[in-house]
Amino acid sequence: MKELFKTNWIKTLVSLILTFVVIQLLISLNIINSYLQTTLATICINIILAVSLNLITGFTGQFSLGHAGFMSIGAYVCALITLKTPTIPGFIIGVLAGAFTAAVIGVLVGLPTLRLRGDYLAIATLGMAEIIRIILLNMDSITNGAAGLQDIPQFINWRWLFLYTAGTILIISNFIRSSHGRACISIREDEIASEAMGINSTRYKVTAFTIGAFFAGIAGALYASTFNFIDPKIFGFSKSIDILVIVVLGGLGSLSGSIIAAILLGIITTYLQAFANIQMILYSLLLIIIMIFRPQGLMGSKELSLSIFSKLGDSFKSKKGRV
């Protein structure tokens, strides 16, 4: 057993280092120029958003249509802090403060709404996100209302993006493979049976919701520090839908699916910019087609793992060898 853990650790570490170094290289060689760097930032932010939403909706089975609401809180808190203290420590505090504030709001939103099921929960979360947006819109003195916040100091570079994105993936993945994570998954599978096994389903729904909100807050903070301008409109229903689409496309219940989908869609939208007019038309058609022909998304609820290669090897062996 210990051996198994060791090799997993090494595999993870190696792939992380490789990813970091390769992309850093591409940036330094300007193969990933500043335009593509924005795409890279968007993809990383979307990965964090998708993975955190997947925890809530894919793994715990709680349908949330208001994820952008938590993102907006992280964005505004971080923006306000870094505007006041435009230093690196200020940035770090901003991100963490944004995340924790989002988490607190997550608890406040989750407690009353998480006893609803299915569609009702979906609408409630949508309503909550809209209320957050309207409040942000009306807190003129702090948030500058509809005009938004400008000239937010930009601290984002590949190192920060990598740290936060990899960190998010690792923490959420660790959580899912723990007993607490399994408790959440059991709620998705059968809430009544889960309760009968001694699991406080409300507590775990709120836990998953809060963790998801925390990381959405981080994503929002990163967004503010990348794009140097935010207004409430950015974090509306459309954004929540965008994130949900990534999660569903990748496969509800698959973290690697969310990552792959975020990367793919990021690349696709970048290329579709050329067809700005029909971009959204193609995008919406894509949605419909994928839902009709492959509703479980790319990965279903499975994870991508290196064991896929050993499985292929096995099937070769059995074809050659035995009966």
Binding site: L116, A124, I131, I134, N138, V248, S284, L285, L287, P295
Partner: protein, 294 residues
């Protein structure tokens, strides 16, 4: 006092629109448990078709109304057949996302064809330009037309649902699709018919709004759509009289908040109502509690 009555009258007009749209949401949810995100876009198409009918085809109000309703009916049925029917047995999330896809598709295609800008309805002539005064209360003929047409449509709908065979079929399929099928009801036709009815009403609402508010644009369905949906939930999602009551309730509340309160919070109040309903009684005003059998 007179201001109060004026607000009530304005609220009833607005409420009629919400009621018409809410009916479509509630009927579709009742029969296939889908929140049809594309419904508000059918309302928008109704407005646009009415626009083209009155400007390009130079038809009068009543023919345009009928044309709008007809086209919207067709579009609604086509959407159901193409996008929703294949997903009859899929997960809720899959259908929901498809609905969102259809909604986006309609919005952006309309933008591509008709441009994203706002268009103004042609000036109304004849009896539609009138208004009646009772003291300082102003009731426009528009408002009377909206309310009367809404009442006619709602009464017709109630008649269809309560007194015809197809109406009975709709109610049966809402309660238990499989049992209805076993009883010999053609479920596909019934569902299509439900979409047809809802879309017709939405189309009517669209052209009525176009005449009343005078301006239309491809994204005009979003906000009224959400509010009408809240209305449907408030009255009891899936329950037809609930949608009617809900529509008028939301319409009146909105007008009052706008008139007496802060118009920035006008939209926020509607969402607050949604949250309150979902927390206090998710099945809505007229809804019954249903339990999962363990």
């Amino acid at each position: 006092m007179e201001q109060l009555f004026q607000q009530i009258i304005n609220g009833i007009s607005l409420g009629s629109i919400y009621a018409l749209i809410a009916l479509g949401y509630t009927m579709v949810y009742g029969i296939i448990k889908l929140i049809n995100f594309a419904h508000s876009d059918i309302y928008m198409l109704g407005a646009f078709i009415g626009y083209f009918s009155m400007t390009t085809l130079k038809l009068g109000f009543v023919p345009s109304l009928l044309l709008s309703m007809l086209f919207c009916t067709i579009i609604g049925v086509v959407i159901e057949k193409v996008a929703y029917k294949p997903l009859r047995n899929a997960t809720r999330i899959a259908v929901l996302i498809t609905a969102i896809g259809v909604s986006l598709f309609i919005e952006y295609t309309t933008m591509a064809i008709a441009g994203a800008g706002v268009r103004a309805y042609p000036q109304m002539t004849g009896f539609l330009t009138g208004a009646y005064r009772l003291g300082s209360i102003n009731i426009t003929v528009h408002q009377i037309v909206i309310v009367s047409i809404t009442i006619i449509l709602m009464v017709s709908l109630q008649f269809i649902v309560k007194k015809t065979r197809i109406g009975k079929a709709m109610r049966a399929v809402s309660l238990d699709r499989d049992a209805a099928e076993l009883m010999g009801i053609n479920v596909d036709t019934t569902i299509s018919f439900t979409f047809a009815l809802g879309s017709a009403l939405a189309g009517a609402a669209g052209i009525l709004v176009g005449i009343y508010y005078n301006s239309i644009n491809p994204l005009m369905g979003m906000l009224p759509g959400i509010k009408a949906f809240v209305a449907a939930v408030f009255g009891g999602i899936g329950i037809i009289p609930g949608a009617m009551i809900g529509g008028y309730f939301i319409g009146i509340v909105e007008v009052f908040v706008s008139g007496y309160g802060n118009s920035l919070y006008r939209d926020g109040v509607v969402f607050a109502i949604l949250i309150l309903v979902l927390i206090i009684k998710p099945t809505g005003l007229l809804g019954k509690n249903s339990r999962e059998k363990v």
